[in-house]
Symmetry: none
Subunit: 192 residues, 4 copies
Amino acid sequence: MTGRSRGRPRDPQVDDLIMKAALELFVEQGVEGANVERIAKRAGVAKVTIYRRWPSSEALLVQALERARTVVPEERLWAENAGPSDERLMDSWVTTLGDPRYRAVLAQLIGSSTSHPDLLATYREQYLRPRRRLVREALAAGVDPEADVDIDTVIDMVVGAALYRMLVDPGEPSDRDYLAKLVHQANRLLGR
Amino acid sequence: MTGRSRGRPRDPQVDDLIMKAALELFVEQGVEGANVERIAKRAGVAKVTIYRRWPSSEALLVQALERARTVVPEERLWAENAGPSDERLMDSWVTTLGDPRYRAVLAQLIGSSTSHPDLLATYREQYLRPRRRLVREALAAGVDPEADVDIDTVIDMVVGAALYRMLVDPGEPSDRDYLAKLVHQANRLLGR
Amino acid sequence: MTGRSRGRPRDPQVDDLIMKAALELFVEQGVEGANVERIAKRAGVAKVTIYRRWPSSEALLVQALERARTVVPEERLWAENAGPSDERLMDSWVTTLGDPRYRAVLAQLIGSSTSHPDLLATYREQYLRPRRRLVREALAAGVDPEADVDIDTVIDMVVGAALYRMLVDPGEPSDRDYLAKLVHQANRLLGR
Amino acid sequence: MTGRSRGRPRDPQVDDLIMKAALELFVEQGVEGANVERIAKRAGVAKVTIYRRWPSSEALLVQALERARTVVPEERLWAENAGPSDERLMDSWVTTLGDPRYRAVLAQLIGSSTSHPDLLATYREQYLRPRRRLVREALAAGVDPEADVDIDTVIDMVVGAALYRMLVDPGEPSDRDYLAKLVHQANRLLGR
DNA sequence: GAATAAGCGAGACGGTACGTCCCGTCTTAGC
DNA sequence: GCTAAGACGGGACGTACCGTCTCGCTTATTC
């Protein structure tokens, strides 16, 4: 009885077009630029077609970001390469933090988080949390069990310092040398 | 000595009216409600009068919030109390980082930094840098000269972790307990 | 036969609302008061809705006034009454030239003709030319075929004189007596 | 006691600059363009300087137009040349009516006469009335005293026809041939 | 095969805010 | 006193998006 609903079914390709356009505009121009009017125009789609699927441009962006994450799953990469290590951790960070697009996305998300907290929340849950878990695995090996610190605080300090530089003081480099310093201090705290 | 510029000078009282109205609207209705049109109406002021002073409502809000800080400026506080200390450092942080308006401003600045980097730069130079200097003074006392770390990296890690929580994971509290943990780890790194 | 254009068709009732409001404001407050902002507000309509239909309040007023002519269209009147005559000609003129709104429109059109000649041209072709044709018919009856004049020049002189008074010397009346004088001279020239 | 008023006297050259700028802007861009702001800028003068001398841009334009008239006093020209005649009448008309600037001024004046009737009134009294008087003199010679017409009506018809062409139907030429036709018909009416 | 229902692009619609322009008034410094 | 400069409250401008709506057409399912 459930069966197909009556009438013409939605075209799944249209979903793709819309989310692609939404993401492009968001990266290029931020939340302001990623409004329904422009997304519709870029996707070659009627506004109604968007409103039929998502209640707001925010909801659309959330899903678009969710979807985009699945494209490059780093976790898998690491699994194929005999687990994480400090070296691989820094390889990953250098790539990510050096990418201006990465900075742009995170900056836009933070900027819009006052009015649209769901965007940032989605990103955090879908993107940041898994990576954090991997970082924890990488740092967990050889920790002094007596160390006067919980590992999450150390991660906060390392990741926080790196993001602080990238977001707040983009003039200062977040290069491998700097990241190495941070990891070195993390290891000191962890007694590794 | 160029002397007074020609023409009728700007009325400083008008600055007050505008920033007061902007702040009220921001607190009552958020960023969306604090637009130039409404600020002008509430302040009883022409829109042009606002545009003459600030390039956007965002920039206006930055200054309004900066000005509205009810906290006594840390510099003075410290000077009057025989220098900084870990306790006073944390008092100051708890006040600042616990203020949702502070978060909102910094988030907006980061969000707009792709298109308008000057806003963030100004804020960093005018606001963050002096405070960083004070933090360095607070942490410098009793540092182990043999410690395997430079103090700026430690500041990055402490401040970075605090801001990371506030900006990226606002669900987790940046309360005194958490800040105390950070300062404790900083002291471990510095051999204090 | 291009068929119906795509998209939601314009609501003809909205046209009515706008032109009604425009006319009211024009009559009440003159050209200055009949601006787009006020017309939109009085008509309960968005400004864009007006701009979609007319390029300026001026163009809107032209059409509104044209439409609002309470005079029964001369063509019909004459057809129903066995053709034009000097009397009916003057009836029509007295009504038209005595209407301050008619003067206002024509004055505005002439004033804007340096920068926007099309407005005046449209008005001339759509409004004036057909009426001129009727005047020619009215004057053609009983013309002395030997008269040393072409009828269009006579029309120029009669219409020109009437409009000259109305436009340039609005203090002097363009009343029935004056128009009668003009028609009388026209008849002398035409040998009627 | 009358004496000079105290303080620095007004610079009469400034009056010239202002009126010159006002007239230029009026001819180029019409009433809209001839606002105090632009006049002040073009004349290199403060707005206050204008408002001190004239209550409005309208009043300024009135005086500017009055003054401009005195530059080429046609009456005098005729006086020096042994009085007006049909030929000289037409010479004068051909020059005037063929000048696009003349058309522009009159069109602008008529266009603005709804809101600012004084402008047109001044022009009529200062410029048109004297010329009309001269035309009357030119046509008065040799009039049939028995003619069934008063001369002012004939002038209305001739001048009206010429202006009608120039203002309302600028596509049709107001050339010497056409003006000759008009004068010929005027002479017929006057029994000359 | 026809009827029905929903998808779809297009674009009208009432709103709100934008940033600019000009209004006429005012307040300053300098001559 | 008078100038140039420019701030000020006010109001209109024309444009951009908002979210809703109405249209003709298309596409799939159901009867």
